[in-house]
Symmetry: none
Amino acid sequence: MSNSATEHLTEPQQRILSFISRYVAEHDVPPTIREIQKGAGISSTSMVSYHLKALERAQLLNRYERRSRGVVLTHPHRVSAHDIVNVPIVGRIVASEPAPTPDPDALADVENTVQVARSLVGNADGLYALEVQGDSMIDALINDGDIVIMRRTDEVKNGDLAAIFLTDRNESTLKRVYREKDGKRLKLKPENPTMKPFYVDARHAMIQGKVMCVIRKT
Amino acid sequence: MSNSATEHLTEPQQRILSFISRYVAEHDVPPTIREIQKGAGISSTSMVSYHLKALERAQLLNRYERRSRGVVLTHPHRVSAHDIVNVPIVGRIVASEPAPTPDPDALADVENTVQVARSLVGNADGLYALEVQGDSMIDALINDGDIVIMRRTDEVKNGDLAAIFLTDRNESTLKRVYREKDGKRLKLKPENPTMKPFYVDARHAMIQGKVMCVIRKT
DNA sequence: CTTGACATAGAACGCCTGTTCGCTTATCAT
DNA sequence: ATGATAAGCGAACAGGCGTTCTATGTCAAG
């Protein structure tokens, strides 16, 4: 949690650091000394100055001398456009229909898009999102309204959580997939650990995509 | 490259834009009016002010009025820190312990952070994340390893999904909370629609935070 | 107890900075 | 040419801002 550098920080110094961090996140611009004073609850500007010097010595921030707002955190969580992926919501997944897959030619619709941090999903290739409709995915611990972020792939590894359309039952489902050794059956394991896995004929199971991430807004 | 808005830009305005861009890249902080004046070769501060107004009208930058260095580019290909929120993972939530809440003074640790698109969680204030340990939150449709993004609030509205610590049972749980009319009981409704709600004495329920979002990496 | 290193407070100094305002210069249709 | 309109200039104002200085307090080591 804490590294060797932060361990020696006094409590007001930590307040200052976290205030700067919050302030930058909100305003795009570092705070002034007096804003730090108020925001971090420091009693005087000279104390802020005093603590900032210590923090600079500890390499936790850089200062541009005599510049207003010249306080820059050393480890800002710098974010570039590459860190966000816009994933199109291409449709709904319901138990009775195959899960829709993205039309590559379709325009990315801003209205029907989930923004996801890249760190959650990795590469943006082949990503699309489905909105879950109804309670039919409950054994995958997924409820009505949840967003499932999928990746279009031909292959799934054992243990991957995937969207599968069962042609014989005419329903789609989200399960962990394991190929049996004989290659003829798939083991489908609900995400819900209280439920038992079951088996289907591999010929009746179409794998439609791989679940990368599940998001539930509240 | 050029859109309808930038086509009408005068040449000094373009100089100003590109100077701001260069300056921010170099200093991490936007320039002042006078720095723009020198750096972009504008003859007076009032002219800078004049051009900045035009650029603001053209939606090419945002200004924080009367704030030093309150000039922020709205450049489309650049995503500002506003679009991603770094949420600290402050601990684990298990059924037998109160859910940890963030120490507001604690440093945001880069290692234990979830990056979440702001569109999922709104304002960054008071956000923290918990990693769910074990299957005890299964009736909230939340499994071992899931990340719950919470907001610290004093109040929850009826129907909010919240982390509640039940002092009489010594366990914490994630449920939808409804206050009964008499104000003495809380109705706690599992997220799983197949399960029945139950009631607790309001005095034995400590609301610890509000669930903003649930994320399951796969 | 003394000392000295550190922490704190408050005020003051002086430059920094965004804004405004009066004035001058360019542009251009009449 | 001319007068209207817009663009440009520079100074000045008022408050913002970083820095520094002095006085006071705390506390552990000598």
